[in-house]
């Protein structure tokens, strides 16, 4: 399976994702944001980081870059797209995913491992997970507070478009287990066709027991199927 990782000035998880993809046997290529075409690819990954120093709004400038037109075209033709952290923010800025990511409710940059729960495991991104499986995944962001309008929230719930929710060790989702103030503890969402996933937690950091855990592995192995 062929993958492309899009790299912007200020991306800093691009290499981590590339390492994870390589470990999981994907054939990956890095794509600089000034490119005007994408290599043949089955999965596009928009990595985490601080593209353009988060100027204007996180993801706003990257969301208007040259390569993004190609990403939008590919996504509309059904190519799989995964946006992690800043990648999620960029996807909302392009309109490929609805809603937006506001400043964390406590106004602090949060970098810690949190629990998230698999809300929909019947997708290309999550099929190797069990429903309601509790994962421990690292988050590292300043703007992770997901917000959307009421109609879209209803659509997210009714159509199974919520991928992950923040929870505690027992899987309880409430204000205490919500690190950043996200609407309904949402940590990741799909578009309506479920070929695009945006998530704030970093699965690429959870692929090796020597440095963390392996709770992110099944996201990549789901995609390999």
């Amino acid at each position: 399976m062929k993958t492309s990782v899009i790299v912007f000035p200020g991306s800093n998880c691009d290499r981590d994702v590339a390492v994870a993809l390589k470990k999981m046997q994907f054939k990956n290529q890095m794509v600089w944001h000034k490119e005007t075409s994408l290599p043949k690819t089955d999965l596009i990954v928009i990595p985490g980081g601080f593209s353009y120093g988060d100027y204007l709004r996180s993801g706003a400038v990257a969301g208007k870059s040259k390569i993004i037109d190609e990403v939008i075209k590919a996504a509309k033709n059904g190519c799989l797209v995964l946006g992690i952290c800043n990648g999620f923010q960029i996807l909302t800025e392009t309109g490929l995913l609805k809603g937006t990511l506001l400043r964390n409710k406590n106004l602090k940059f949060i970098n810690r491992d949190v629990n998230i729960k698999v809300i929909n495991n019947e997708t290309k991104f999550t099929s190797k997970y069990k429903l309601n499986e509790i994962l421990k995944i690292n988050i590292a962001h300043n703007e992770g507070n997901y917000f959307t309008d009421k109609d879209h929230l209803r659509e997210l719930k009714n159509e199974g478009l919520i991928a992950f929710k923040y929870c505690d060790k027992k899987g309880i989702t409430n204000e205490q287990s919500n690190p950043n103030g996200s609407l309904e503890n949402i940590a990741g969402i799909f578009n309506s066709k479920k070929n695009i996933l945006g998530m704030m937690p970093h699965p690429e950091r959870m692929i090796d027991n020597h440095i963390s855990n392996t709770d992110g592995v099944n996201l990549f192995s789901s995609l390999l199927n």
Binding site: L56, R57, A60, K64, E93, K98, G99, T100, L102, R103, K105, N106, L107, F147, T148, D149, G181
Partner: protein, 72 residues
């Protein structure tokens, strides 16, 4: 540009509390962003149209932000 009324503005809240702590009474405060834009265009109507486009294409996130255009 300010955050829409129903969007939580935590920075504004902190500023509001701090002003209150300083003994200054206020009802509400919203923190926003401000751009000074110079154009070649001299026709007011056309200029406003251009600025509006800039706002909606890039400067403003219409999901969460409102904007106002003022001539200086």
């Amino acid at each position: 540009m300010t955050l829409k009324k129903d969007v939580l503005d935590p920075q504004g809240k902190v500023v509001q509390n701090t002003l209150a702590n300083l003994g200054m009474s206020l009802k509400n405060i919203r923190q926003g962003k401000y751009f000074e834009i110079e154009l070649e265009e001299t026709d007011h109507g056309k200029a406003e149209k251009i600025i509006k486009q800039m706002c909606e294409k890039l400067l403003v996130n219409l999901i969460i932000e409102d904007y106002r255009i003022n001539k200086l």
